[in-house]
Symmetry: C2
Subunit: 270 residues, 2 copies
Amino acid sequence: MSVVCLVNGIAGAALDPLDRGLQYGDGVFRTLRLENGKPRWWEEQLAKLAADAARLAIACPEASLWQSDLANLAGRLSGGVIKLLLTRGSGARGYRPPDAATATRILIHDPTPPVSDTWPAEGLNARICDLRMSVQPHLAGIKHLNRLENVLARAEWNTPEIHEGLLLDAEGHVVSGVMSNLFVWRDGRLLTPSLEQCGVAGVARARLLRRATAAGIAVQETRIGLDEVLAAEEIMLSNSLIGLRRVSRLGERAWPKPVISPQLASLLDA
Amino acid sequence: MSVVCLVNGIAGAALDPLDRGLQYGDGVFRTLRLENGKPRWWEEQLAKLAADAARLAIACPEASLWQSDLANLAGRLSGGVIKLLLTRGSGARGYRPPDAATATRILIHDPTPPVSDTWPAEGLNARICDLRMSVQPHLAGIKHLNRLENVLARAEWNTPEIHEGLLLDAEGHVVSGVMSNLFVWRDGRLLTPSLEQCGVAGVARARLLRRATAAGIAVQETRIGLDEVLAAEEIMLSNSLIGLRRVSRLGERAWPKPVISPQLASLLDA
């Protein structure tokens, strides 16, 4: 089974090379895991897509359109990954957003299971990336299509034994993983980097913050230095493909045993 | 006459929605002006495209391929704008650049004359953008496809009386215009913002720096504060579409008469 792309609902339709998604990265996206033929956390993903699009003043199609795209692929959705992309569409030359652009809606189904499915259950092996994330409050938190920093950071290593890289900002605060959000457990509190200056605020992250709070766990979005990460009792990574996974090694620092991660992973998945 | 796109040399060919140019903005581009049926500064543009691609480790096609694309459009190139895009191509899911990606080469001819052709000869009207450019040395200077900051900055105004916006970085240094580079004339010296932290280093800018130096004019790439811009004897903007144009007004500050811009524009165009 190969990858299928629906462009505005039509399988195999061409993308206009003038689309602003290509020209400027002028759009947003989501990555979803399929479970039992259904994309996990579908409503939350659509809500975040719409919220991200709104921050860029891109009109997000009704949920029913995405739902109808998904229905068109029913039968082949036994597993793999769904990606939703939404661009501002095509328009006249130049950076200025067209007054009346029609957004381009793309749904991609890739039947290949996430590579993270083969990662060890006992914990992930992470490294610190050299690249420092830039600060841009206007784009912080949004999963937009300007992802060259992630590409360059991910290109820093090419060994399958390393699963993820941690990203710091120019001031040395920890932002996230290249493709995941970070959680730190210390003194009975769950900390995660605040993402008001840079980084992507994932659906798994929001979901875990909400559910941990509801379960009576003290939760805080804050600035976190690398020293605080190294001093943590446990650190964990989250995204929509991996759920929540503990890190067992970050460079020289090892965390041999789980502390809170099994409980938090259950909260996230419940 | 309508817009024509050649994708890997083929007119009207579809762009793969999985192309990393769309997925991540993983690519570079150039915008060229047509003059007498030929793209202006062609060799310099191709050299800068290749240099930008090299910084992202994208293999740039031979100049002969771009030349052949151009030859295929001969006859319709009486005017308008050529845009060259080069992406890393398609590949497996994920940020990591594929080991053996084939770059996607796109040439677009838009017969519409640049809107800047209608701008007043006596000088441009500029404003200061609210958005502050982020700092990323790994991407600074490159004309890459991650241009959301430019899109957001350009969306700040919608009045044709304002021709360009000046971009500052978070520290308040002037970077460039939204779609142009900035030059400042003061005390017999030509200054332009150094672009080691952010911004795009245009071909017109490089060409003017080189030619002004050769003409015995003192030239300096340096950090420039907004106060220095306002205190300048003349300020000018450059890009491949407008060449070099003086600014006659920046907010409240007016520069009623040209000082050095006619001489510099001649140097650039010679």
